[in-house]
Structure formats: C-alpha cells, structure tokens
C-alpha cells in the first residue's frame, strides 16, 4: 500500500469541484462542493448519534437506503439544522445536483455544515450547482475540500493505492474537522471515494467496523455534533473481483480504509479548534478492548489534561484522575504513565505513584506538536488508541466570540 495524491479524485471515475456560491459573505472562501462518480457506486454511511440531526442527514439516510449513490453535494456556512424547512431544502439540493448531473436525486448524498438554526438560502446553491457540474475535474479534489471547510485551518485529504486480485485499487478521502464559520456547530464530515468493487453490505460492514477504532476514538471537545457523517462511495472501476464476502480481499480493503481513516483522525485532532498540538493516548495492558477504549477516551476528553498539555505540564495526576473516573474497572495501583514525542519518552508514574523525573526533559517532550500519552494497565493484552488536542485560549475565543 502506498500514499498517493488526488484526494477524493484519486479513485478511478471520480471528479470533483468547489466554489463560493454566496452562502458565505466572504467570497474568497469556498462554500459548496460536488463529488461525482461516472458510474453508480456501492455506498455506506455512519451518522451522528445526536438525537438532534441535521436535515441533510435524514435525506442522505433515505437516499442511501438502497446501498447506492453517485454524487455528493455539500455546503459549508450553514448546517441546515433546526430549521422547519430543512428537509425540503436538503431535498432541493439533491434534486438540483441530480438534474445537473443527469442522475436520480435519490443517488445524491447531501451534507451541510456551519451555523445551526438559521434558514439555509437555496438560491445561491441552485445557481452554483450548474457551475460546479461544468468545472468537475480529476484535479478538483482540493477545491471540493476547500468547499466543505469551516474553521479548519488546513484542508484534510488523503489517498492510498493497493492491489486486489491483481488490480490496482484506490481509496481517497476528504474531511472537515471541528470548526465553524460563525462558531456555531462542531461538525465532522468525511467523504471517502474508492474504485474497489464491493457489495453495499460489505462496504457498510467495513465502514461500521472501522469507525469503532478511528472516528469514534476522536474527540476535540466532547460535544457530539448534530451533523457528523462519514460516507463512502465505491464504484468498482478498478475492475477487481467484486468483494462479496469477508475474504482476504476484504481484509486488504479494511486495511487500506483504516490507513485513510487513521490519517484523517490525526489531521482532524491536530487541527481541532484552537489546538496547538495533536494528542494521542495509547492504552496497553487492558483486560479487554472495552476497558482500553474507555480509558483512552476518558483521558483524551479531560479538560484538565488537555489544558495541562497546552501548558506542556507533565501533570500526570490529570491522567490518573481521568482514568479513575472513566468508569472502567482498573486497578489504580498498577498503572504506568509515559509521555512520548519525537524528543524521547519519560516515565512519570509507575504502579499508580509518581516517580522522580526531570521536569526539564518532560517539558521538552511535551512542547512538541505531537504528544503521546502511553498508559499501561498491566491487566491483560488489549490495547486502544484515542486522538484529541489540547485546550487553548483560542478554543475559548473561537467559541465565545461569536457574532462580536
């Protein structure tokens, strides 16, 4: 497997485009994106568990009920959530995209991200879609990626190639992380494209399995968005023997998919709102997977831990504290904690008690842009990893200074 360029256009048959259609007042920022597959693709998706769901999610869910789709239309600048006319607007978006592309509106995935509770204006979208259709290109992946960004500071793309039954296959993706236009809605959107031939059932199985150890282990601020979704379209144009059972090809596909999703998790966490660094919590020695995940997520979500990491403070008491209230059944007297980065690693807690360590060395390790907190529970062989970011002044600023 190797990493390649091309984002959502890396897989055969996929083109994309992006533009500013006028939802955003700042015309230099894109706010609309289109992704198109030249043939109908198997599709699968997972959605936020928030009971308050953006209207586009409900429409997309209905459209993907038959396991197929051919295009994605997504706007930023407005989440189209908590609006009485939301579902109608989302349907109109799909209809406009379908008409422009000459495909059924039922085969269009719709997504929106941005401020909630404000009506999404349809005219800019309706006038923008024909232009997006005209400019679809295999080079359009970055424009599309720019079109779905809100307060993301960097576009998030990735693509890999690998081989299945002698055919070269590709999976590409783009994501927006947790950020907002007017800081109003932390949303994560991930669109994955692939040219692998795979049945909708197995595609859903692959995605649903993968997110348990990837996107579900990612936290910026513990607030679950109303608009999160991860969608994958796989159009079969690679010409591989179609994957219709959980065979070796399925395992290779899962591996490639995981490479893509882990990469995006790390990009989203590192570009979390106001973040100065990517935090990774690696738990080993857990009695079972559930314990490992619970501990990793509790630490990565702790505001006190996140603030300490912002200050490059080797405050391992925060880690122990977060493990202790995680709800996981652990022996707190057998926990080791090590901080690790490109500057080295340092053991700060052994058997639940502090050990002597050099504050200077710890500071140097924690000042890096990527910091790993390694926790050994000494109770078994299960492990897990969670990603997050530090809690900074800018997080408060972004989320407190709305409309001022």
């Amino acid at each position: 497997m190797k990493t390649i360029d091309g984002g959502v256009c890396a897989a055969q048959g996929f083109t994309a485009s992006g533009m500013n259609c006028g939802i955003r007042k700042n015309r230099s920022k894109f706010d609309l994106a289109l992704v198109y597959s030249s043939c109908r693709a198997s599709s699968a998706a997972v959605y936020t568990t928030n009971l308050v769901k953006g209207a586009p999610l409900l429409v997309t869910q209905a459209h993907l009920a038959d396991g197929h789709a051919q295009a994605i239309v997504c706007n930023s600048g407005n989440a189209n959530t908590c609006n009485a006319d939301g579902p109608m607007i989302a349907e109109k978006m799909a209809e406009a995209a379908g008409n422009a592309l000459g495909i059924s509106p039922q085969d269009v995935v719709v997504a929106s991200t941005g401020v909630i509770g404000q009506p999404l204006p349809l005219p800019p979208i309706l006038s923008g879609i024909p232009h997006l259709k005209e400019t679809l290109s295999s080079q359009g992946h970055l424009d599309a990626c720019l079109g779905i960004m809100t307060t993301d500071t960097i576009p998030k793309e990735i693509a890999v190639s690998f081989s299945l039954s002698g055919k070269e296959c590709r999976i590409g993706a783009m994501a927006k992380g947790s950020g907002m236009i007017h800081p109003n809605m932390a949303t994560m959107l991930v669109f994955i494209t692939s040219d692998v031939a795979i049945s909708p059932d197995l595609l859903q199985k692959a995605l649903s399995t993968d997110i348990q150890s990837t996107f579900n282990m990612l936290s910026v601020d513990g607030d679950t968005s109303t608009n999160d979704m991860v969608v994958i379209l796989s159009n079969g144009m690679a010409g591989n023997t179609p994957i219709t059972e959980e065979n070796e090809d399925f395992a290779v596909f899962m591996q490639a998919l995981n490479t893509v999703t882990v990469h995006l998790c790390r990009m989203i966490a590192g570009d979390g709102e106001g973040a100065t660094k990517l935090l990774e919590c690696q738990v080993t020695g857990a009695r079972d997977l559930s314990t490992a995940k619970t501990v990793a997520k509790s630490v990565i979500c702790s505001s006190l831990f996140k603030a300490a990491m912002f200050g490059a403070d080797a405050n391992w008491g925060r880690v122990l504290c977060a493990i202790g209230y995680s709800g996981a059944d652990v022996d707190v007297n057998h926990i080791d904690v090590t901080f690790r980065s490109s500057k080295g690693d340092i053991l700060v807690c052994q058997d639940g008690h502090g050990v002597d360590f050099s504050e200077e060395d710890a500071k140097a390790i924690l000042l890096e842009k990527e910091v790993i907190t390694a926790i050994d529970l000494h109770a078994g062989s299960a492990s897990s990893c969670a990603w997050g970011c530090d809690l900074t002044y800018d997080y408060v600023k972004i989320n407190g200074d709305y409309r001022t």
Copy 2:
C-alpha cells in the same frame, strides 16, 4: 428558616481555627484548618466516585464507620493522593489532632486538597495542630474556611437557623470549590456542622438524598476529583427531640440542609476556575426525574455551551446539541429554550426551531453574572436544576500554566 452568620461555628458547640503551617510557601495564605465539636457528633459523609481516591478519604471512611466524629482537620496545598505513604500520613494527621484535642483519633475526619502525586510533609502539620487547638474559637470559622481554599477566589460559608420541637437549631457549612494551588487538582470539599440531634443513619440518609439534587448536579469542568468529599457532623446540642425516624422534623432538617447545600453549589459554580458567571440550567416538563437531570447536566457540562455563555452569545444551537447527545430520550421537536437573568428573559427556541429574537436584548441578558437557561421539554411534569460556570481564557490559563 433564616440565614445567620457563623459558618461552621454557627451551630452550638462548634469552634474552628485556621493558619499557615508551612505547606504553602506563601506564608500569607492559610493551609490548615481545624473544626471541633465540644461533644461527639453523629456523622455522615459522601465521597468521590473516582477509583483513584486520596488517602485522607480512605482514612476518613474508616473513622466514620461507627457513625460518629468530633473534629475535622484539613490541609490545602497538597492532596496527599497517589503517594505510597499517603495513608500513613493521613493517619498521623488524625492522631495529632486527636491527641491535641484529647479525643480518639478515630473521631477525627481528615481531608487534604491541592497538588497530587507529591509527598505531603508531616512536620508542618504536626507543629501546626497544637496552635490550631489553642486558637479554636466560635469566631474561627472564616480562618478555617481560608485554610481549605486553593484557587478559590472567595471563601464559601453559609449558616441557617430553624426550629425543631420548639428548639432553635442551626446548620452551618464551609466549602472549597474547584481550584488549586499549583493548578493540579480540582477538588470540592464541604464540611457541614449542625447542633441537631439526629441518628447517624438518618443523617446519612439526609445527606445521601440531598446531594442527588445538589452537589451531584454541579459541574465546573466535568473532571471528577480524587479528593471530593462532603462531611456532616451533627452534635445534638440544640436539645431537640432526637430525630430517629423520617418524621416531620426530618423533613424540616432536610429542607434546612438543602438551603445550605444549594447555596454552596451556587457559590462553588460561580467561583469555578476562571469563571466570570454562574450558569444555572433549569429543566421542566420532563417525563421523569432522570430525564430532567440528564438533560440539565449535559447542557451545563458542554464546553461549547460554556464558551458561548462566556461570550454572551445567545447560541441556543449549543443547548439543543447538548440535549440531543445527552442520552436522554426526548422529542427534539418539542423543546423550548429561554435565557433568563436579572435583565429579563428571552425565548430563543420553540418546538426545536429558532424563533426571531432581539440579539441586543439577548446580549444584555447574557452579560449578567448569573444566567439561567430554562428548558421546557413538554413531555411531563418532572424538573431538575444543574449549576456550572462559563469556560474562559482564565480556565485554560490556570490549568495550562502550571509550574511556569
């Protein structure tokens, strides 16, 4: 019932004192407190649910096993948690206090708050306790309160008087909220004293019941401390007919206790780390109490909601979002949200959708020091209240700038 002065010394028979014994390097800040009842008192307590528990909690738990205590010794500046010698140190504290007061060490409640994972030096405490014993006074409540503070910006005291079987009774209390010396351990400690005659069993029942709607509905940052405890001593000196069953007197006692604990909850929330305002979330119309509490706590704990309140931003989407992911089974299309303060109230969301409102009026309401978010779920008659504070730059500063 009326509010009176005197804090933990308001109830008959209670004296207190506080001092700097040298745990803190800044000698102008107190770090040790003693509270004494002239006779043995019924006692009850509740403790943090964190699996990582401070050594003093374990010692106090053992000492209160017989339902009685006569004194409280508490230091700030060091939590005596995650130290191998912690239990021994905590026992020595109790022993020193017991010896100085001429009572059994088993009747001494021990508590510590401050940095964790650093050994608590015993000498300053051993040399300080005799002085504390000498200076015990019915005027010493504020000194004692100062002795348990960490980054609290205001001392937190309250006392009420009320009548039981023709006798005047009192309940007083002091608390420390979530703050730290070297910002390291968010702890809440509450010590309540009373001269009511009540059996240990019913005292425990009163406390355990009360905290469900008071301290358990309080959140500053979602991090559950290793050292939280609430202890009540009730020495019977008021001379009321002893409460030994859940009769009318018990109800009056519960009411008085609740007045004290709600007052402390509001003080702790309003003085949360870095907080500029007290947030109260009032949920009404819930189908049951559990739903009401789940919704209230989810909103009050949301980082995005808290940051929006810091910015005085009427961002009701944050409220809906937090309700949606709370896990409570609610109909999101029947939720009303109103913001309220001394400047008036404003409806911002009706039936789950935004309504037109004056941004200017909303801003004026949200700029106040105490803001209520009122949520009506229109599904029943259960209600609940939760307290918290806004998320500010100073929260990040306090918790990120440790040791720098």
